[in-house]
Amino acid sequence: MDVERVARVARLELSEEEKELFSRQLKEVLKAFEVLDELDVEGVEPAMHPYEIRNRFRKDEVKKWGEIKMPNKEGEFYKGPRVV
């Protein structure tokens, strides 16, 4: 696994030690997970939930809650980092 590349996709800053450590540990984890290759899952429907769940909709009503205090909040807006 190319940990550096995955960390970039996950927007996660890692130290050099962490990259080296995870690379070694996750190799072992994936090796152990290869056990799944023993099973034939051809034609098996993936189970997204433990039992069948159908979409259910409710009215889209606006409810007002209290505030969450954040240093980057200005009025009703959140100040974000530079985009371009």
Binding site: F22, V29, A32, F33, L36, A47, Y51, W65, P81
Partner: protein, 435 residues
Amino acid sequence: MKLKKLNEKTNAFITLKEEIEEAELYFSIKDNICTKDMRTTAGSKMLYNYHPPFDATVVERIRGKGEILGKTSMDSWGFGTFGTNCDFGIPRNPWDLGRSPGGSSSGAAIVASALKERNVALAESTGGSISCPASFCNVFGLTPTYGLVSRWGLISYADSLDKIGLMARDLKDIALVMNYIAGGDERDPTSYQGRVPDYTKCFGEIKGLKVGVPREYFEHVEEEVKEKVMDGISLLDSLGAEIREVSLKLTKYALASYYLIALSEASTNLARFCGLRYGLSAEMEGEFNEYFSKVRGSGFNQESKRRIILGTFARMAGYRGRYYLKALKVRRLIINEFKEVFSKCDLIAAPTMPILPPKFEEIEELKPIQVYAMDQLTVGPNLAGIPMLSVPIGFSRGLPVGLHLMADHFREDLLFRVGRAIQEHTNYWRKVPEL
């Protein structure tokens, strides 16, 4: 009530309420369940300053039914089997402070076990986070059927696996509080809309109930644990239950399937923690990807980073079919296998955990894959979303052992019936640790 002292010794609470009024029943709440008057951290530094402006549905439903004590410690985001991944002090087992209380609902089990006053813990399980600490701390731990209890206001780990459940010394109190919290909620579209029974009335004879004992659930289990669990099964036999050996051949695949699904979902759920709308933030320097990466790199602990990396990888183009989708297909096979057993048996009985509560030094020696493997007996039923109950079944070397009872979807009534029968015929559950 000496909560402050209990907390100093065990780190059971991340946030303890300042003034507690006397009540007949007390509640503790796992710190990934949102409370509008108390900080909610999910055990992570990332949310050290988060005060939710709302109550989770379960919290709304227990308000006025007793006094809330505080928010209990947990492995951050639910990522752990031993409580050692909590960012606010490592929780300790009240039966031996040098050992783990189990995770991830560590504080919930500590309070349920060590507080003499009548109390119920609101906890949560994704892959075994109620059963494991209940077993290690000698309390009853109920993980309800997926969807029976609303998840609205729970800080998600993995949406298709998360279940809010309860722990207490007395199973009757769990039944009472289940009556408060179970049942549909329009804010959680996966919550169960059907009728819910009165759980306090689910007791009675267990004669004739068919109890399956899966041989695979005894394969990598410590002898001392096995002995106590077999004593518990003999008790069910003597009370007239029909004990039969069954096989759950897919048990050895459950671990990989569980971790791949849980971490795939977790890595998307944790994307929201990026230092903008809540939680940890930093100086707004650099462009947005740099900012997000920096905040996330400093706010997540090592186990969280490891899991985000693994979960992100399992979903990436080129790997998704081999890991994430394959795990979901294996999950289907595992669910079918449980269903097959429940067409012949009313319940399954097994050890909750393969080991006694380990010492912290022993945990430090374990590699991540060895820690994950400790969940081998709890991940299967959690993948299948079936209800399960860990029952105190004795002590070995002064350490608690749990018997795990599992039933088909929405058959909590059977778990209560058998749990109450064991409660009537044993006294282990009455024991309170000396601190």
